[in-house]
């Protein structure tokens, strides 16, 4: 015999204006199994909750229905109240007579009748509720950070400093990401490597950070608190344990003129190389695409020179397994390649700018390397075609950004700021040079940012033209840049020695494959999707996996660092307990009746159903069955709908409950 209490709320005027609450409370008191029915102006308030607790105890209720707003608002509130009064919290249901009734209807009589029906349904449901217990999942108290740029570094240090072990996986031979290659950063004009390399060293030396460099995530299995990650350590052909980083090998390598990835082809590197002097780890790697020893068993000068005997041409990729409880994805960005070859059908590059055709048309990251003190020209700005000092440099904003026709419709956020920075750095290096910037709008919304742009214009004499560039051609070694200034309403033609294109920011290569391995969402541009754009910017819809930095959306260094610390704090919340609790409203399979057709295994979007076996105590095989992994299941109900033997059911929303609810309306 049920003893159900119904608590109907006025919600001030929100419900009472349209629904006759007194009438409702009176009508529902005569429903079968209802022990008491009260109403109050604000059920979620302290007195309201006290009323619920009091009635649970005094009337010995075994089920509670709160008829008020949406469960999204206060289900947790009332479950807590019930628990405090000694009632299992999963024996509480909410009848939504606000969003589903008073807020969407006008007729008082009809709304009141509908409210009674809604409550009738909830009463049927709560009558068939089971006293569920939250699911406890053990947690491996280690974190994985994918990506060793500034965001990954920040997240790793925060988590490791809090006392947890961190596994960091970085695809390049060294950590540091794009920031390691920048010259100076806005708005302070700090030397980028100077502020980053101490952090890089900290990561390399941290007792709780295990760094897998020149490695990639191969596979991800498991679920929140219990991930098993397979990492592919790519073959360096150098034993990092023996190598001392002395540099004899890369000095003696005869194949010196390979385009340097770190310099974005503005400089060269040998076949055995370290990407930059401050690399962490400071160990070289051999490019197997060009090394003579690896291709045809020739050369081997480096092996001969190496006193530590660290060269190993027989090296192979290794697969390593790591167990972690949470993952932070911080894989960073790349620039839109504005030349013809594209990876997506809807991108076409900018043929009219001549990128790839004219040597002196470069992109912004290439310019960073040319002005960087540790760059291929040691910080002396030399234009690529002939090494001359450019006296007129044109900077073009929004190349590929804000472009529905040829590029990406979004704003890449950082380009207005780094273009101003480039104009300033250029002027600081070439005192008699003139910077020309073509822009559509100036986006400088951060602290000190607008002042920074004004400095470029007012103190460093950069000329800003409000308009786009239509075409770049080359005449007698000069780049003819044809653009416009719409403020004056005139065409503007500049004869430039160098053109720098602010290309759009895109997520790094391979982001979609990685996201699929992790089962996290991404948008049409590849940017990873957050749980909620306002309130949950570092969580994903997959429990235990967090995101930080430019892999989420275009952003600058301060924002990436802030987001990384935010992700780290979420990781710490999760790792702080020995166990994680999950809501128990998930699917369960009746293993006796399960026909082992495994349709559910194939349809579950969360890969939460496993193929299992029922065995006797002594291990004899009885039958096969599907089994839900309580750590992964999100309670979507897909398996319930496809199960032909009706063996799968959703706890807290069983088929029996649904039928009972429907029948109660007949």
């Amino acid at each position: 015999m049920s003893r159900i209490g119904i608590f109907t709320c006025w919600c001030g005027e929100n419900i009472a204006r349209t629904v006759d609450v007194d009438e409702v409370a009176k009508e529902v008191s005569s429903l079968p199994g209802v022990r008491c029915s009260v109403n109050y102006k604000y059920m979620c308030s302290d007195p309201g909750q006290a009323m619920v607790r009091e009635k649970i105890v005094s009337e010995k209720l075994d089920g509670v229905v709160v008829a008020s707003c949406s469960p999204h608002m206060h289900l947790k509130t009332f479950r807590k109240a019930a628990q405090a009064a000694g009632l299992n919290p999963y024996l509480v249901e909410m009848a939504n007579i606000r969003e589903h009734c008073s807020w969407v209807h006008h007729d008082r009589a009809q709304a009141t009748a509908k409210a009674v029906d809604i409550i009738r349904l909830s009463v049927e449901k709560v009558r068939n509720d089971a006293a569920l217990e939250p699911i406890r999942v053990p947690v491996t108290r280690r974190a994985l950070v994918i990506g060793g740029g500034v965001a990954g570094i920040q997240a790793a240090l925060d988590i490791a400093d809090a006392g947890y072990e961190v596994v960091m996986v970085e695809r390049e031979p060294s950590i540091g990401g794009k920031m390691a290659g920048l010259s100076e950063t806005f708005p302070t004009l700090d030397c980028s490597q100077c502020i980053l390399t101490p952090r890089m060293v900290e990561v390399g030396q941290h007792p709780r950070i295990k760094l897998y460099s020149y490695s990639e995530v191969e596979a991800v299995e498991g679920f929140v608190g219990n991930f098993k990650i397979t990492i592919r350590q790519k073959a360096r052909y150098v034993d990092t344990a023996k190598c001392t980083g002395c540099g004899e090998c890369w000095n003696v390598c005869p194949l010196k003129k390979n385009p340097s990835e770190f310099d974005f082809a503005m400089g060269t590197r040998p076949a055995i190389y370290i990407p930059f002097p401050q690399a962490v780890p400071a160990r070289p790697v051999i490019d197997k695409k060009v090394c003579a020893a690896l291709i045809r068993n020739g050369c081997k000068l480096c092996e001969k020179k190496c006193k530590a005997e660290a060269i190993n041409f027989k090296d192979e990729d290794k697969l390593v397994e790591e167990k972690v409880g949470t993952v932070v994805v911080a894989t960073g960005y790349k620039l839109y390649n504005i030349a013809k070859e594209q990876d997506k059908a809807w991108l076409s590059g900018y043929g009219e700018y001549g990128y790839g055709k004219y040597k002196n048309v470069i992109d912004s990251l290439q310019f960073e390397r040319l002005v960087s003190a540790s760059g291929p020209t040691n910080g002396v700005l030399k234009r690529p075609s002939d090494g001359a000092n450019p006296k007129n440099v044109v900077f073009i904003s929004c190349v590929g950004s804000r472009d529905n026709a040829k590029g990406l419709p979004y704003c890449s956020k950082i380009c207005c700021m780094y273009t101003a920075k480039h104009a300033m750095l250029y002027k600081h290096k070439v005192h008699d040079g003139q910077a020309h910037v073509f822009y559509m709008d100036i986006r400088a919304g951060g602290k000190g940012y607008d002042e920074f742009v004004r400095r470029a214009i007012e103190q460093d004499g950069a000329k800003y033209y409000r308009g786009r560039v239509s075409k770049i051609t080359e005449e007698s070694g000069k780049l003819i840049v044809r653009g416009a200034d719409t403020l004056a309403g005139v065409p503007v033609t500049i004869e430039a020695d160098l053109v720098v294109l602010a290309a759009a920011m895109r997520p790094a290569d391979g982001i979609e494959e990685l996201a699929q391995k992790l089962n996290i969402g991404y948008d049409e541009f590849g940017f990873l999707l957050e749980s909620h754009p306002k309130l949950r910017p570092v969580e994903t819809n997959t429990a235990g996996i967090f995101i930080a930095g430019a892999c989420h959306a275009p952003k600058d260094i301060p924002e990436s660092v802030a987001q990384a610390s935010a992700a780290a704090s979420k990781v710490q919340v999760m790792l702080a307990a020995d166990e994680l609790t999950r809501e128990p409203e998930i699917a369960a399979v009746n293993e006796q009746t399960c026909a082992a057709c495994f349709t559910c295994v194939n349809t579950c979007p969360y890969h939460a159903v496993e193929r299992a076996e029922l065995r006797t105590g002594r291990g004899a095989f009885i039958k096969r069955t599907a089994r839900v992994n309580p750590g992964l299941c999100m309670g979507c109900g897909t398996c319930v709908s496809v199960c032909p033997s009706k063996s799968a059911d959703l706890q807290g929303f069983t088929e029996q409950q649904v039928y009972a609810m429907v029948e109660s309306l007949a």
Binding site: E352, C398, R402, D403, N404, A405, S470, T486, G489
Partner: protein, 151 residues
């Protein structure tokens, strides 16, 4: 060009359509299609220019200095309406006369007259040009299309 293409579109966005319709720019435009090809917002600027031209003529707002351009296009359309295909000498005669009457410039009548013998020498002048056989259908097509532009 008194107004650049982006300024023409801006004046229309601001509701100052008359400024655009009275401009010289819409008649100076050669319809090279570069604008529509380059526009990052996929605005079909060339089609906007066509529309402005059609409305400008219908509303009688053609800039005075641009009368020769309009006269040429109108003479061209009259010509193919009659002949189904272009009869060049007829076109030139009608065009030059129209401009003369609209602008009162006799010099215009005789400009390029030296080209006539040059063309004749090269057998490029057709005194009896080929016409379409079914010219009535052309007339009917023109009639069906001449119900005035939508605003």
């Amino acid at each position: 060009m008194d107004l650049a293409p982006n300024q023409l579109i801006r004046t229309v966005q601001l509701g100052q359509t008359t400024t655009a319709l009275r401009s010289q720019a819409i008649w100076e435009c050669v319809s090279c299609q570069t604008c529509s090809t380059r526009c990052p917002k996929e605005v079909d600027c060339a089609a906007v220019m066509d529309a402005l031209r059609e409305i400008s003529l219908a509303e009688g707002m053609v800039a005075t200095s641009e009368q020769p351009v309009v006269a040429f296009q109108q003479a061209f359309l009259d010509n193919i309406r009659r002949n189904g295909r272009l009869a060049e000498l007829e076109l030139i005669a009608q065009f030059k006369t129209a401009v003369f009457f609209r602008t009162g410039r006799p010099a215009f009548l005789f400009k390029d007259a030296g080209l006539a013998p040059q063309l004749g020498k090269r057998k490029k002048l057709h005194l009896l040009p080929g016409k379409a056989r079914d010219r009535k259908v052309v007339e009917r097509i023109f009639a069906k299309c001449s119900t005035g532009p939508k605003k």
